[in-house]
Symmetry: D2
Subunit: 337 residues, 4 copies
């Protein structure tokens, strides 16, 4: 195969980014089909991205489009079902996080992946493909850090995006599954360990609406991993300076920080506000390159017949941890695994 | 009174700093007497600081020196007893943290303070007198932060000082009481709230010796306060870059960070290691100005007949929180207050 | 035209980057032919980039390859001649800086451009296409800066690359034409003005070899522009921390700094060297995105039949300023224009 | 002598700082007398600083006050005359910069200093006593920098202080003598060399009033020193972010930057303006510690019978360089020394 024919399901904010990358930047790939329930999104994709075939029904797209691979960017509740269907139809699958919203359905995907071992299955933990995170990971693998002591990671959306979050709140699985799951994946990746205890707290500091759905607008969790490393996560919706994704890994030999100032670019402004750096305002802006890199990796894996580093079980495990953190937060108790 | 006659007990690292400040920098004060069991320390104080009277017995110093005030920098186990004795003898008392090592003795100090209401009693939480912390506190009081969401504070001693820490380990009350108590005080001061739940973890990542005394070389705690704010503390002994005291307060309107790069000064070095800033290497270096400010405040309170902001009960409460964090860490359980 | 057929001349470090970008990233373009005197470079291009036609003679490539456009990355001395030849043959031309090495030949290119007004001619001042410089330029155009006071710009190559520079020294036109010409272009672009006086100095601080060719290893110049703005340039070869390209524009309302810490990425390292950020080590690393953006702009201009912002006369003027700075340095005198 | 009796002449902004430091912080010193033509200043000094004797006539103060030393903070035009008079009367002399406003009177002070070789004479180049500059100087002396290539130093007053500067403009000797003289002293101190050529330019970018007095609101100069090092100075009045004093010394082995972000303290603010650090707003704020350190050095020199590092000839030489820079600016020509 020298060109992967890809269909995408879901054309929302992130879906459109993936669609656009596939149709214009990703090498050895073409965007053959797109599926969405939203007609405007479909016609935009047709017009701007030249997608050949548009569908409102997922299975129809799978069956009628002569695809090699599928990219799933639909609502979280559909991920597992669609991934399994596509795997069974012989397609390679790229699935956005979270893998699923229950442990059971995640395990079902793992089974389908195992049953179709020649197909590529990859999960969209794009931070692993961000140049700065990759650089930090490489340093860790080289032993720069020594033994890891504390892994701290924040994912806080900008307050300026709060309307979108509030509109979506009843479909949300909560901050841990929506936001912190990326930090959880990073922790597992960088610490090479699994958590053994979790305690989570949080609250509604600015937006009471989240409480009505059993969530907070900011939540945090303290975990201990089975190699004794500690981890602290913060997930929230109210950053006034921008899209605040930052990570710190404190080790016995060094500490690494990624994005502690979530600077937009290399420009500094000196004016009446002081000396300042403007910040990234969205995941699209911060992880623009990472989204390209991960999709290229997916396509390369298909073409070169290799397996991606991120496996289905990474999705299951991260989902489970996020689920347990949510449970700890809701029940205000310590959870031992 | 236009000059406060001060006696100091304890002439170790911090004791000598206080003694030197009193004898040379603090206005309206003189260092009249010093007490230590260590003869070398005493003769150094006599020689370098011109202290008039030297004692090896605390009570003797109190009774024979015509003092107005006493500064307690002795081992933690002696704080309460000495403070009570001096209060009863009519002296103003400045006491280093922690106030005491059990709740009971802290409460006994509170009683003695109440019984001698005309005397000044002040606790050595010097960070409240550091210009940067003062500036942040002022911003918070002005409402810049909005509602506080997360208070994060680290106190990590440099790895280069590990020998001293190991030598002292059997007399240590643990990282939370030794190190994090400053962060706990800052949290209470800045959040204007008290914790309602605590979960602490930790371990020995570099130095197993701490485990033998039921401690870790790095420990952390997640707390929820009664105004719903969250707090995360890290206390440790293994920072390779220097003396890492940093604090972040995330609010609904802004975030403040104090010391996130614990820079030594305003010099940046560009060389084969990159662009870098060297760091403070000790509490003496980082809080040089704060130690002067707090002692001046103590003397000013005596002279101007006013009461310091930091009260005995601040010591009791911080000690109690540090004690509960230690208990949570040791018993690996969630503590609700 | 929906795909521009491009031939490239010169396959050195930068030539290969352009060739690779055209063959893999640039939309609506294909790398049809390549020309180099170096057989290894040619066979590498053939193998890695799938270039169809390879030539060792420039004119042969032009005449035998059915090209729409040519990208000139040959030695500076060949730029003008090749550009003029290609323009006369009806090709669109992208030419690396400097436009030429004498004023006369630059003016000859201008003439050829004017005589072939329907063809695109673009000069490779890639910094104008770097996201951070673009962002700063936009701020300036919005009036954020007020009236410009001082434009300061450094271009200092890493000491680690000195061997390459020394090998090339006898073909070099000097630091101002080789390095500072980019800063000169930025100054003209951002200040929207032309210099009226120039004074340049410099020396060999680490590498005497440059003196033998009438150059320094670090040189600087102070200029006043016709809108009274001042400009200060530093060009050098001896940065120990990396590839130091930075710019500061001080205005009456604000100051903008671009790249004052030439950080490689968003990772900070805290270790025994302090808190540090590693730096970009080469122009390829720092301007990776800019090289893509400028080439895409060239291709877009051809396809959309529009003219690029950077014109031949920008090359002439920058070359002339760099030439006068060199003259001032060599003759140790003030030059008024 | 164990307490130096000091008289001060001049009680303006800086005069009052020196007076206050002497009366409250400086060890082994007392502020015995003060002289000013401004009655309000005198009565403030009497009230707030407990100065014993107040004078409106300088010579009267010298003759009637039993002083050991004099601190001169009067207008620049009076410095030399007062210094010489006090030296001849047997007093130690601390003199604010500039030493004088003509080369002749500077030389006359040098003579008086030489004729009274047992008395201490010290010039107020306080930056040499700033902890960050001291640290950088120490690094340079240790050889960290290698051979110096470029010394760049800015002294830009905040726009917020422009009214004061405009009121004082007709008494000002120009930006180079008023502002850049500190940078000039730093360059001589750090480079251990003297300039051999100077070219200066500038203009009125925001405030035309300076032009009426033959000055600019921002001026700059490029110098070459006799060890081939280059120096670039910027002096101005229009910084919108605060009091911008920064210095960079680029060497063959490393680069040092002092104050490139003129941060007020260790607090960072993250809000809708980005991630920002507020800046020092005045020389009083930035150099608070340096003013104490230099005065203590003066007193220590008197008590310990030693000579300060900064000599009268440092004042003469810096004044002369500032004068030549002014001349270059006014006459728009290159000056070779």
């Amino acid at each position: 195969m020298n060109k992967v024919r890809i269909g995408i399901v879901g054309l929302g904010r992130l879906g459109f980014i993936h669609a656009k990358n596939i149709s214009s930047i990703i090498k050895n790939a073409e965007l053959s089909a797109a599926c969405s329930l939203n007609k405007e999104e479909l016609s935009r994709a047709k017009k701007e991205l030249n997608v050949g075939y548009c569908f409102s029904d997922f299975k129809e797209m799978i069956n009628d489009s002569d695809l090699n691979a599928i990219v799933i960017v639909s609502p979280s509740a559909n991920h597992c079902e669609q991934a399994i269907y596509a795997l069974q139809k012989g397609l390679h699958v790229f699935c956005e996080k979270p893998l699923g919203i229950t442990l059971q359905e995640c395990l079902a995907v793992e089974e389908a992946v195992a049953a179709n071992a020649n197909q590529v299955f990859m999960l969209g933990f794009m931070r692993r493909y961000d140049p700065s995170y990759m650089y930090a990971k490489q340093k860790i693998d080289e032993g720069v850090l020594g033994k890891p002591i504390l892994f701290r990671s924040y994912s806080v959306d900008p307050e300026s995006a709060i309307d979108g979050a509030l509109k979506y709140v009843e479909h949300s699985a909560g901050q841990f599954l929506d936001m912190a799951i990326h930090d959880i994946d990073l922790a597992r990746w960088m610490l090479k360990a699994e958590p053994k205890s979790i305690f989570a707290i949080g609250g509604c500091y600015a937006h009471k609406e989240f409480a009505e759905h059993g969530d907070g607008d900011n939540v945090s969790a303290l975990l201990q991993f089975d190699n004794e490393s500690m981890a602290f996560f913060l997930a929230g919706r109210t950053a006034t300076h921008g899209y605040n994704v930052e990570t710190e890994i404190i080790g016995t030999k060094a500490t690494l920080r990624i994005g502690s100032v979530p600077r937009k670019n290399m420009v500094e402004i000196l004016d009446s506000h002081g000396v300042r750096q403007e910040c990234s305002q969205s995941f699209q802006e911060r992880f623009e390159v990472a989204f390209v890199n991960e999709m290229q990796e997916f396509v390369d894996c298909i073409i070169e017949n290799k397996k991606p580093e991120i496996k289905a079980e990474d999705g299951t495990k991260s989902t489970n941890i996020a689920y347990l953190a949510t449970k700890s937060f809701k029940e205000n108790k310590l959870i031992k695994i």
